[in-house]
Amino acid sequence: MSSEAAAEHAVHVHQAPTNPIWRYVFSTDHKVIGIQYWILALVSAFVGMGLSVWFRLHLLNQGHVAQLTDQLSLLVEGSADYNAIKAKIDALQTAWYHMEPSQYLGILTMHGTILVFMVLTTAPMGGFGNYFLPIQVGALDMAFPRLNMLSFWLTFLSFVTLMAAFFVPGGSPNAGWTGYPPLSAVPDSQGNGYQGPGGWGQDLWVLSIAIFCFASLVGAINFIVTTLDLRTKGMTLMRMPLTCWAWFVTAILALLSFAVLLVAGLLLLLDRNLGTSFYVPGDLFVSNKLLVDHKGGSPLLFQHLFWFFGHPEVYIAIVPGMGLASHLLSSFARKPVFGYRAMVYAIFGIGVLGFFVWGHHMFQSGMSPYVAVAFSVMTMVVGVPSAIKTFNWLGTIWGGNIRFQSPMLYALGFVSLFVTGGIGGIFLGQNAVDIYFHDTYFVVGHFHMIMGVAAIFGMFAGTVYWFPKVTGKMMNEPLSQAHFWCTFLGVNVIFIVMHLMGLEGHPRRYSGFAFEFLSSDYMVRMHTIVTHTAIFTASAQVLFLINLVYSLAAGKKAGDNPWESTSLEWATTSPPPFENFKDGVLPEVHHGPYEYSVPDAAKDYIMQHDPPEARPATAPAPH
């Protein structure tokens, strides 16, 4: 950029606030907000993971209890053997991690809700998106910084509300993360007086989600306007990095789906507290009495509203990871993304088609079986763009020159996990086959594989990739790699084994094993493997924490562009100044986002803001 042009583009911008409260807490700076989101997600991830380790321990325990109970039934009551086994059972039942059934469901519900909302929905979008979207498109900030701040603090409020549910009378909500009524709508319905009319857990759950919806809507507006309107000169849509496309599509998904969840939650709240009958049918016989104040509601209505949100939501979790994986594969294979346009269309395809498949969560719900057929076919169609993306990822590294640095490892791990998880979808998406798999551990394995760990690998990738930019220091490479291997191995074992348990018909959301087929040797062996591997994998996350702390304190100093990537965030200093670019002068973009190994070019990469001459005239035209 010539110096006059630079002067012309220089604008007067406000200085960073000096008061730490405005600078670091109630900041309108997208970078600070991004970090805040990221920290919120990190804390939530550890809370959620802790809960899961707890109930895995409990479940393994219950497997042993079930087997011992089987043995007990063969023995004569009162005999020495009998008493010995009885004592063992009692000991297991009083272990510190033992849970009461309703408590189990409460912890399970909180685990799901925390991870789906506070981790999978916040970090990829609110965290990385907030920090890097404006920089990657070449803007000074998000379009509406104050709304951005509002969005984060609402999310935080939602988080606090959800956490409060642990501590209120009646305990945490226990109708599952999907919160199906009437269980969630009739205060008495938990049976046994648990979560009686005084129980606030479920109300707080709904409230928290409602606040979350609102926060996400506010956030999404910012993403869309920023992407469409604040791109710097030369940054055409088709020159945006795929990360930006992914955030953009994710924002659209959030915009259209969270509004519906808001309504679903609101109606649930009314049914619970004001005795309306949106979802609650008449004549329910609950807790040994006939409920008279409800009439004719439809439980399926909630399911439709919920999954209208729910399916797009799973893409909200994964699409940013897809964008980042494409970005990293290209960057570390030193090769252009294979089929950039196809990738963009596939993201859009997923976004659009994703709104027409929600019924695949309801094949067995009592919904019209004709409609189920349509949903089933649509579901298989939405598998196609996912497959396209996978092929294109493989195409991207094909013929590359792969550098095995930790971001690349996580990205490659992402691809592998995405394939494995997606394959479960091919079973579940067929209404006939889903008859067998619905609500078994197969589903649990499927969605953890793809939405749980694949998306989380996207976050790990983002963290190691951008850590140098955000902090100016590199993360420790050996620690990252060790963490990658442990986690990659661990999650594969855990969730593939869950597929096998699903094949054996293991129902989900069981807090104990009162069935013969659940106390078989096979099942207990599988539970043992899962629990042990889960403990191992959870422990491995400590490596990640140590790495963060260590690198923050003593990491190697990072240059501006340690990975030799091309996008605009690498055109500025590490960490970027308050104005994102030096003196608030926005760079002008002359190149596509993935100009690696351009024939005859001087370097093996051309940054987006390099002068036009950087690209030799002899090179083939960009996509």
Partner: protein
């Protein structure tokens, strides 16, 4: 080094996963219904196809990782895509996915869309926290009307049977489900409180029980039992007398089947098939002993029925069972239970 580890890990992943599925024996629980065969076919077909996709994709990934690992002096190709390839795999996956899906629609239609079989055995399934109640139409084959206003826990009338409806006079209700094999059955699945899920693994049947809704599902059981284990001795003569020899009792015991006092034994087809009922106190556990190829085999004729939709703290123990009877036994069963 890293690419080699990566290749090994992926190799391990593929081999481990394939082995996990291949070595799982049996792959699926025993199958007893007619429609289930088609579901299993579809499932196994999908397993083969996706198994191949899984292996090819993961191994392809490993191959590319190794082949294109960084080496000094090597420059990556400037390949931006290939429209032809992209079209090819888009169309191919579309055809494969949708085709696979359409193949499964036949059995779905059989279960949900087609007309229900004429004159089936009707059984009403009522789910409630945390048990299953099965109402049978009795000898007249017609269930009495029901309405919530008649629910009366004191009389055990949870299904809300109308006391004034004559059709209901010979209805009877039980906590387990018995069905004849070889005859179409239609279950009417409903709930009186929250959502529940009716599921029997061996029947390849799953349907949510929704309050305010009643869903009818037809099925035909085509097997009388599932082989548990072959017996070591030949007790046919004793069995015909209605006696269980001690040796057999021990053998059962060793296999975790407890012979209690009230257990009963009778010949269904003397000299060939005997019905053994263990545990008559709680829910019946019917077994069959069959003489086959000169030796005796023990078959189980009961299957666990699980709740598959979260219904509250007792969800995990909401258990019942399905007993499979011969048509003759079923007729006797109805006769015996009809008031």
């Amino acid at each position: 080094m890293t690419p080699v580890i990566f290749v090994l890990v992926i190799l391990g992943l593929v081999v481990g996963t394939v082995a996990g599925f291949a070595l799982k024996a049996p792959l699926l629980p025993d199958l007893i219904t007619e429609h289930g065969r088609i579901i299993d076919q579809q499932l196994v077909l999908t397993l083969y196809i996706t198994g191949a996709i899984f292996a090819i994709a993961q191994l392809g990934l490993a191959y590319l990782i190794y082949k294109h690992r960084h080496r000094d002096g090597v420059k990556a190709s400037y390949l931006q895509g290939s429209t032809k390839l992209e079209y090819t795999w888009t169309v191919a996956t579309l055809v494969l996915f949708v085709g696979l899906n359409l193949m499964g629609q036949g059995v779905w239609a059989q279960m949900h869309l087609n007309e229900k079989p004429a004159r089936p055995v009707n059984i009403e399934v009522t789910a409630m926290q945390f048990k299953w109640i099965f109402r049978y139409p009795g000898k007249d084959g017609n269930l009495g009307a029901r309405a919530a206003e008649y629910i009366n826990p004191a009389e055990g009338n949870y299904v809300g049977k109308d006391p004034d409806d004559a059709n209901g006079d010979d209805d009877f209700q039980l906590l387990s489900m018995s069905v004849p094999y070889g005859i179409p059955v239609v279950v009417d699945i409903r709930s009186i409180d929250v959502l529940h899920g009716f599921a029997v693994r061996e029947m390849r049947l799953k349907q949510d029980a929704v309050p305010g809704l009643s869903v009818n599902i037809p099925f035909t059981v085509e097997k009388d039992g599932t082989l548990e284990f072959p017996l070591s001795g030949n007790y046919a003569a004793d069995l015909d007398k209605g006696e269980l020899p001690d040796a057999l009792k021990h053998e059962l015991n060793a296999n975790k089947l407890v012979w209690k006092d009230k257990a009963s034994l009778r010949a269904l087809e003397p000299g060939r098939v005997w019905r053994l009922t263990l545990d008559p106190d709680s829910i019946n556990r019917p077994y069959l002993v069959k003489l086959e190829n000169g030796r005796l085999n023990l078959y189980r004729s009961w299957y666990e029925l699980a709740c598959m939709e979260l219904c509250g703290y007792g969800h995990y123990q909401m258990r019942s069972q399905v007993n499979v009877l011969s048509p003759v036994e079923y007729a006797e069963f109805v006769e015996k239970n009809s008031p």
